[in-house]
Assembly symmetry: C2
Homo-oligomer: 148 residues x 2
């Protein structure tokens, strides 16, 4: 990874594959995919993703399982993620672009991308057939809005 340098063959291949994807991919999944395209070591995949990220070509978010998911910088997808089952639903609207522009033009920080994700419980997890973790009674301190 270096200043004013053109991407390497591997970095280019990783970027190309990412740009074909419809949804974010983990580094490991990407590594497996590369076998049929441009086989390379796992470490190289991670390094390539780092370079691409530092150059504003790729973005990433972290799944609930702690896995980093990468996608092309041009994808502006956001999610509703269930804290219980971990399933993610895609949101079609992004209300943040304007703010990003504001930050951008205010100088002093160059914004490449942003993540916006909502967490909570999806319908099945919130109202399961059999009772499931949902309501909790908190006695003291601030909160006490149990009821779900």
């Amino acid at each position: 990874m270096h200043p004013d340098r053109r991407l390497t063959r591997n970095q280019d291949a990783v970027l190309a594959v990412l740009q074909e994807q419809r949804s974010p991919l983990s580094a490991q999944a990407l590594y497996r995919l590369m076998r049929d395209r441009q086989p390379m070591g796992l470490a190289t995949v991670y390094r390539a993703l780092d370079v691409l990220k530092l150059n504003g070509l790729v973005q990433h978010r972290v799944s609930l399982e702690g896995e980093s998911l990468y996608s092309s910088i041009h994808q502006d997808l956001h999610y509703l993620t269930c804290l219980h089952c971990g399933q993610s639903f895609v949101l079609d609207h992004c209300p943040v672009e304007r703010l990003e522009d504001q930050i951008q033009t205010s100088g002093s920080f160059k914004v490449y991308y942003h993540t916006l994700e909502f967490f909570g419980l999806c319908e099945p997890c919130a109202h399961p057939a059999a009772p499931t973790p949902s309501t909790v009674h908190v006695d003291d301190e601030s909160t006490a809005d149990g009821e779900v």
Copy 2:
């Protein structure tokens, strides 16, 4: 962690400590803090955070280093994070609350909290004294082996 159950002493203590904090804390940091308050095993701290999260009392985001940072659900902090040095700057404005309400009232998903984070390069990392990773030439996409 169980249905319609009051928080345990430990879970209560973890929540209380979190509510005193001004900024998000990692589970490990929290574990260290608890020693002076309500000593408990590291695993219990993680379990408590899970329960609190599933009940909408605590939120978390993941740092660039892959560490989960927890905070009270009432903190609505968002960040500008530098991809190069990892430093985070707090944003004072959150433009997303309205959308959260929309999702909330549209039914079918109960939103507890959201994360909003901008990534890019901070001033020092973007314009360092000595040249640093910044510019990259991409000749479109799948140019795997062109000239070079």
